[in-house]
């Protein structure tokens, strides 16, 4: 079953600026863990941000969970966003808040303004936060400030925050490029394990081809805003990689 379908997606940041995405199309199935690879500047970050409209597309069509993303009004868009968990390259935590508050902030889409104002989240949310904090191995750091943690721990807070949304899709924007190789592997394994466990598909921007091959079942290759490869991980040949990364080799 297709969870996400992107057709002929185009993005320009300004009317006369260069086209960042030049007509990208792909499908994401409900059991996919899809890696989006490509050199930096290929448009991976822009593409992933179009899916929950953190970046406004200028052309094409995105159908996510049966809804036309580009046609949504602001309130509908927020409702859609809360179904999409997002994990960021630089974690994007709120540094001055505690780990617990950062994780709970994943529930904001489900929380009213008054509760938000007093940071008074329902008991069920707190239990859920404790469960996921345990799941990512941060039980001992619940009340620490987010900026007191190491990079790997911070990314786990980011993962727990995304899971709090009870996502139907995970968007991972370079989740490991700010981490060292050993921690990267642990974090990828954790995300993948949880995604499988919850039966949630994931779309993962990733720079590191080795990691992509190791963890993802499908790969889409992007270069300069154009799709160069789309297929099962096993079918990815060195020739394809050369084409995707051609710019960098030159």
């Amino acid at each position: 079953m297709s969870v996400l379908s992107v057709k002929d997606l185009r993005v320009r940041y300004s009317a006369n600026g260069p086209e960042i995405l030049k007509g990208i199309s792909f499908e994401l199935q409900s059991d996919d863990f899809l890696a989006m690879i490509g050199p930096s500047g290929a448009g991976k970050s822009t593409l992933i941000r179009c899916i929950n409209r953190l970046v406004e597309p200028t052309g094409g069509e995105i159908v996510l969970l049966g809804e036309d993303v580009r046609a949504l009004r602001p309130s509908e868009l927020r409702r859609l966003r809360r179904n999409v968990g997002m994990i960021f390259q630089e974690f994007n935590l709120i540094n001055r808040m505690s780990v617990m508050d950062n994780v709970l902030s994943g529930r904001l889409g489900y929380t009213g303004n008054l509760r938000s104002l007093f940071r008074h989240f329902p008991k069920k949310d707190i239990e859920k936060a404790l469960y996921y904090l345990d799941r990512v191995g941060l039980t001992d750091h619940v009340d620490k400030r987010a900026d007191a943690l190491s990079g790997g721990q911070r990314q786990r807070v980011g993962i727990a925050r995304a899971l709090m949304q009870t996502p139907k899709l995970l968007l991972l924007d370079e989740p490991t490029s700010a981490l060292d190789p050993k921690i990267s592997r642990e974090v990828m394994a954790l995300i993948m394990g949880i995604a499988k466990e919850l039966g949630v598909p994931a779309l993962c921007n990733i720079h590191d081809v080795q990691l992509a091959k190791e963890f993802c079942n499908r790969i889409v290759g992007l270069q300069d805003g154009v799709k160069k490869f789309d297929g099962e991980t096993a079918t990815l040949r060195d020739r394809d990689l050369e084409e995707i990364y051609a710019m960098e080799v030159l």
Partner: protein, 273 residues
Amino acid sequence: MSATDTHIAGLGAQTTLRRKRQMKQALIWTGVLVFAAWCAHGTIIADTDWSRVGGRSGVLASIGRYMQLDLGLLPELVRPTIETFMMASVGTVLGCFFSLPVAWLGAANVTPSKTILYPVGRFLMVLSRSVHEIVWALIFVSAVGLGALPGILAIAMRSVGFISKITAEAIENIDAKPVEAIRATGGNQFQVMYYGILPQIYPVVLATIIFEWDINIRRSAVMGLVGAGGLGLLFFRQMNSFNYGGVSMVILAILMLIILGEIISHYLRKAVI
């Protein structure tokens, strides 16, 4: 030309350059001093009634009058001292409330309208700071009558400029990434501000408010000079009845209050950071 010659020629060029700079500096200093002399002539020599000053003994006698403290004034000091402290505190809090919308309008990255409301916000910041607190007090005394209220309002208005300017700068310098994360969870506009922006700016804003409160104690001590309550009013009365010992008592009370303010703000700042 040998290497040594080049080197010496280079030194020569350097010397000329240095001489040029020295000339320029001498010129600036001469200009400043001549201007100062002209100012001194205009303000001090031409404008002063030296017979009124009355030589060194006259000045010393005038200062001496302040040295006999009027301890009998002590009971009358209590209420205005408390009032001054309260005026500064309430004025600062009110100033914070006024600052909120001004900072919102005047921060380039969150302002609702860059062409109309942003300049309005910036203008309000400048206006608040360029009008002296005494002038604000005069305006408010004329608007709401005598008493503590015009003092509170004057202090609030005078505080808006600095607090909102620093707040707007803090908002402009925030890290956009957490804001993006909150938007991605489906948070609404309020939640984005409250969870994404506020935690990033509040240490700076609180430190600024404490700093401003400290200054506002000084300001509220003079509000009474133009009819707005507090120690200034007592100062004014003592001065008008030529009770110089009483004037000194009021000044001592102001100093006490300011030292108290310094101590409190020192601890508050520690608690915030």
